[in-house]
Each structure stands twice: as C-alpha cells, then as structure tokens.
C-alpha cells in the first residue's frame, strides 16, 4: 500500500460498455464451458439414474426403476447404507475423541515421549495405506475384529489421525492460555475448563476434522475390500462396485448410476453446506507447506 491513491485509481471498475461486453464474451463462454465439463459427469449420472439403460433390469421409461433394482440388490441397499453410516459415524466419533484430547495434550502439556508420539502420528502419512492393511488383517483376525465394522472403523480412524491431530494441535495453540487460566481462577478444574471454555473455541476445527473423517470413511474402498468378507457387512461403495459383477454378460449400468447418486449425494450436500470448513482445512494443512 505504498501508493494508495494510485491503487484505487487502477482498481476502479470500468463502466460496462458494449465493447467491453463483447470483449468479455469469449471469457464467459470458455470459463462456462469449463464449469460444464466439471459438472457434466455428475449431471449425466443423475439423469442416467432415472433413465432406462441398455442392459438394465429396468424396462419402463423415466422413473425410479433403477433405484428399485438397487434397493432389492442382495442384502438390500438399506443394509449397505446402514453399514456405511455406522462405520462413518463411529470413525468420526473416534477421530474427534483422539484429536480433541490428543491435540490438547500436544498443545498444552510436556510429557515424556511427547515428541516421539507426535512424530509417530505424522509418520502414519509416510506409510502407504495398502502396505499396512495386510498385517492389520492378520491382527484384527487374531482378536476377532476382522470382518467387523468396528474393526474397520478403528483402521479408518488411524489414517485420519495425522491430519486431525495436527489440525487440533494448531487450533488449541491459537487459543490464548489466559482464557483457561481465567476459568480455573473461577474454580473450574482442568477438565471442566477444557470442556466449557476450550471446546467452544476449537469448534470450527472440530467440524473440519469431523467433515474430513466422514468423507474419508464414507468413501473408503480398499480397507473394507480387504477387511470385510461377509456380503451383508459391506459398506455402500463395495456393494455398488459388486453390481458390476456381470450376470450373463450384462452389467446393470442403470443401477450402478443410481448407486453412484446415493453414494455421492451426502458428500455433495455436506461439501456445499460446509464449504468454508473444507477450504479452511486446506488453509491450516498447507500453512506449514
């Protein structure tokens, strides 16, 4: 801001003239085309899911026939939705508990082994997901948690920890210590101060952490592929992927599209509602990059 007057002059918006509108048309056309390219697969999927498809079990015209096929598929779409919802919500709960208390511990306390533990959490990022799933399969099998949605949630939570703990630590560190101390002077214990004073202060970060955990758990594919073997315990993405197993050389693309819509809809709604938090997650994640 060395030359404020000049800056204002330069940034003053030019009046809309015919020449300007004509000049801007190619810009709007090309960027509009870009938006269409990115939205097209989603829109097509939505339309295809209510259209009769070649190779589909549906024979009527436009309507929810594909969804009815999907609803009646094997254990039933309701069961798969329930599996996905249970796994995702348990993962979110476990992630929130670990990162809320863990973030607080890392931000506010010095305890022996603290730095080793924090580095271990970050090291989870270094280890490829798939290479851990083989031993995890064996270990969960040994304790009876293989082929269980609880076991699956534990594994999904592990891979949320690096981002979540990192985020919560930063968030707690940005809250001034005086706020807690004031609460303590008023007679609150450490835990009461944490819940009553700090929890509201770090709520936006918790929402971001929960959002990312939900999206990751809801959408994960390879962990349930390896850890879940009963067909009635499959989460939604796997159940829908199994639709592709051809029956007499025919793949039901209509039901697959309906499945994609059921899978994608909660994610898109959550994204649009919490877009600000989604973007903030990137901000604090990239801060140190």
């Amino acid at each position: 801001m060395a030359t404020p007057t000049r800056a204002v002059e330069r940034e003053a918006r030019p009046r809309l003239t015919a020449g300007l509108i004509l000049g801007r048309t190619p810009y709007y056309v090309s960027t509009g085309a870009l938006a269409v390219i990115f939205l097209f697969p989603l829109l097509w999927s939505a339309v295809a899911s209510v259209s009769p498809q070649a190779g589909s079990a549906q024979t009527e015209g436009f309507g929810f026939g594909n969804y009815r096929t999907l609803a009646g598929y094997q254990a039933g779409i309701g069961q798969y939705l329930l599996n996905s919802a249970f796994t995702s919500l348990l993962t979110v709960a476990l992630t929130l508990i670990c990162s809320f208390f863990g973030g607080y511990a890392f931000a506010r306390f010095d305890f022996p082994g603290k730095n080793i533990l924090f580095l271990s959490v970050l090291a989870i990022l270094m280890v490829p997901y798939a290479t851990l799933l083989i031993p995890l399969y064996v270990m969960l099998n040994a304790v009876g948690l293989q082929d269980s949605l609880v076991g699956l949630s534990l594994v999904l939570t592990l891979f949320q920890l690096p981002f979540s703990i990192f985020m919560m630590r930063i968030s707690f560190e940005s809250v001034p210590k005086e706020i807690e101390e004031a609460a303590r002077v008023d007679g609150a214990g450490t835990f009461a101060a944490l819940v009553r004073v700090l929890l509201p202060a770090v709520k936006p970060a918790l929402i971001t952490v929960g959002l990312f955990a939900f999206l990751a758990a809801w959408n994960d594919f390879i962990a349930p592929l390896i850890l879940i073997s009963s067909s009635d315990k499959l989460p939604l993405p796997l159940a829908i992927a199994n639709l592709r197993q051809q029956v007499m050389g025919v793949i039901d693309y209509g039901a697959t599209e309906a499945g994609v819509v059921v899978l994608a809809l909660p994610c898109i709604v959550l994204f649009l509602l919490l877009q600000r938090h989604y973007v903030n997650g990137f901000m604090s994640g990239a801060l140190k990059g």
Partner: protein
C-alpha cells in the same frame, strides 16, 4: 484428500527432557501424567494399529505366511525372490511410474492454471471454483464407478458426442486397449483431483502479499515476467507440497484401476498396490509375499519422501 498435512513442524526440546515450563500449583510429574492421560487414545491407536503392524509386516515378509493356514515358519529370502521374479513385478513398477508421471504433470499444470483463473473472488469466479471443487468431495471409488458407466459401450454419452463432433464414425472402446485404458483413467483422475490441487495452490497464491504485484505493475512488468519472477518462486512451498501429495498418491493408485480396468486389458494396467492385493487375496492367498512386496514399496516411498523433504529444505535456505 485427507492427507493434506505438512512436514513435521516439531522443533521442541528433545523427547527425553520434559520442557522446563514453570507450572505453579502442580508438579511437573503430575502435569506429565495428565498430558499422557489426554494423549492416551492417540497413543493406543499409534501403538496397536500402527507400530505393531509395521513390525508385523517386516516379520511376515520373512515368513511363509498363507491366508488360511497362517504362519508356517521363517523363509527369509524366498518371498523377496519370488516377488521380484514375478512376471508382473517390473511391468507394474513401470506402469505405476508412467501413470504417476502423466497424472502429476497434468494435475500440476491444470491445478496451477485453474488457481490463477479463479484467484479473484468475483461472484462468477466463486461459482467456477465451486463447480471445479465439487468432484473432489466425491470418493475416488464413487468417481471411478461414475466413470465406469460413462465409459460403458452401451450407455456412454461420449460416443454420440464424438460422432456429433465428427471425430469418429465408430464406437470408441474407452477401456478396451492398454493406452485407451490408461488415458481414460487419467481423465477420471484429472476430473476428480484438479479442484483439490487448484485449492491447495490457491491457498499459496493468496499468501503472496499484494504489494509485491503492485510494485511489479508499477515497474511495468508483463504478465509473463510477473508470473516467472514473483508467482512461481513465492509459490514454491505450495507447489512442493502439492507435488509430494500427487506423486505419493499416484504411486499408490489402486481404486481407480481396480474399478475401471481390474488390471486389464491384457494385464496392462496392474499397479504396484494391485499386485500386493493380488498376491495376498486374489486367489494367490500368499500373505508373506504380499508383505515382502509391501516392505519394498514402503522402503521406496520412505526414500522418495526423504529425498523430496531434503530437496524442500535446501530450497528453503
């Protein structure tokens, strides 16, 4: 997408020495105990579900370990010999590297281009930003299933579009030939991840102070000079982070190929992770060999990450 984190920022006292922070009314030991109590859930996860399996995968890689019979004793070099002499070992590595190179170059160029395009926050650009970002809310598996139907010979909308544009008369088989399968998968990945990298680079762009650009404009710099001289150098940390995420993510590609091609056609799209999966579960049931391949991948990735971090550090100075 959840791996958006950063290199370790820890620059505290060594782990063995508790920090000297003065704590009135509370002994240092008591505070340490309390800290551990709060960190306990995290410590349990890290110990049982991270450190233990890393040790177990090392142990398994040196054992004759089958899916249904379990551990049949040590067999040290055998798994590694079998894995490296597997006929898909070299081809899966080469394919994964080829895919990584293509995906990384396209996503970086496109991500940066889009970030520059939607940088200002006018209403139209906010809409554009959201439209480009929406696919990144979808899971990779959902996106792959969506494109599986988009590429299907029966219901693909692309063939009518291509015919209408006059590009081709016949139907294109999008997943039918090795190169078509590769590029079709790349198209899916670009659609799904372009917004993700756009956002990551956008965050970097917005941290560049505006008066630097103002000064360049006063000096009469062209757009290209500003881009080369200011934007690129100041964006380096963000680009490096995006690069690490993109390279690591692409090297571990699985969902998209598992869903779109199942490794075909003619085993041309078998990635390294697909090979691990095949060794362990898809009929082979040899967990020991899968573990051996995992150890090789793990070593390679730690090496690559270490090199990238080192490169980052030296660039910073």
């Amino acid at each position: 997408m959840t791996t958006v984190t950063a290199p370790p920022p820890v620059t505290h006292a060594p782990a063995t020495l508790p920090g000297p922070g003065p704590r009135p009314r509370r002994g240092r030991a008591a505070a340490g105990l309390q800290g551990w109590l709060y960190a306990l859930p995290t410590a349990l996860f890290v110990g049982f579900l991270f450190i233990a399996p890393v040790l177990l995968v090392l142990r398994m890689s040196a054992s004759d370990w089958k899916l249904f019979t379990g551990d049949n004793g040590w067999n040290l070099p055998v798994n590694f010999e079998n894995v490296t002499s597997n006929r898909f070992f070299v081809s899966s590595i080469l394919f994964t590297l080829q895919y990584t190179a293509i995906a990384t170059v396209l996503l970086m160029v496109l991500g940066l281009g889009l970030a520059l395009l939607v940088q200002e926050s006018t209403r139209w650009k906010s809409f554009l930003r959201t439209a480009i970002l929406v696919p990144s809310a979808l899971g990779l598996a959902s996106a792959s299933l969506l494109f599986y139907a988009l590429y299907s010979p029966q219901s693909s909308p692309f063939n009518p579009i291509l015919r209408w544009l006059g590009v081709t008369d016949s139907s294109v088989s999008f997943l039918g030939t090795p190169s078509a399968a590769l590029w079709s998968t790349v198209a899916l990945i670009v659609w799904r991840f372009a917004g993700f990298y756009m956002l990551l680079l956008l965050v970097g762009l917005q941290r560049i102070p505006g008066d630097v650009y103002e000064a360049a404009r006063i000096d009469g710099a062209t757009w290209w000079q500003t881009f080369r001289g200011i934007t690129l150098p100041l964006l380096k940390p963000s680009i490096s982070l995006a690069l690490i995420l993109c390279v690591t993510g692409s090297l571990l590609a699985f969902d998209q190929f598992y869903i779109l091609t199942k490794g075909g056609p003619d085993n041309s799209t078998i990635t390294v992770v697909q090979l691990i999966y095949n060794q362990a579960f898809s009929g082979q049931n040899n967990l020991g060999r899968a573990a051996a391949l995992s150890v090789i991948v793990l070593g390679a990735l730690i090496l690559i990450n270490a090199l990238q971090f080192k490169g980052l550090k030296s660039e910073d100075q």
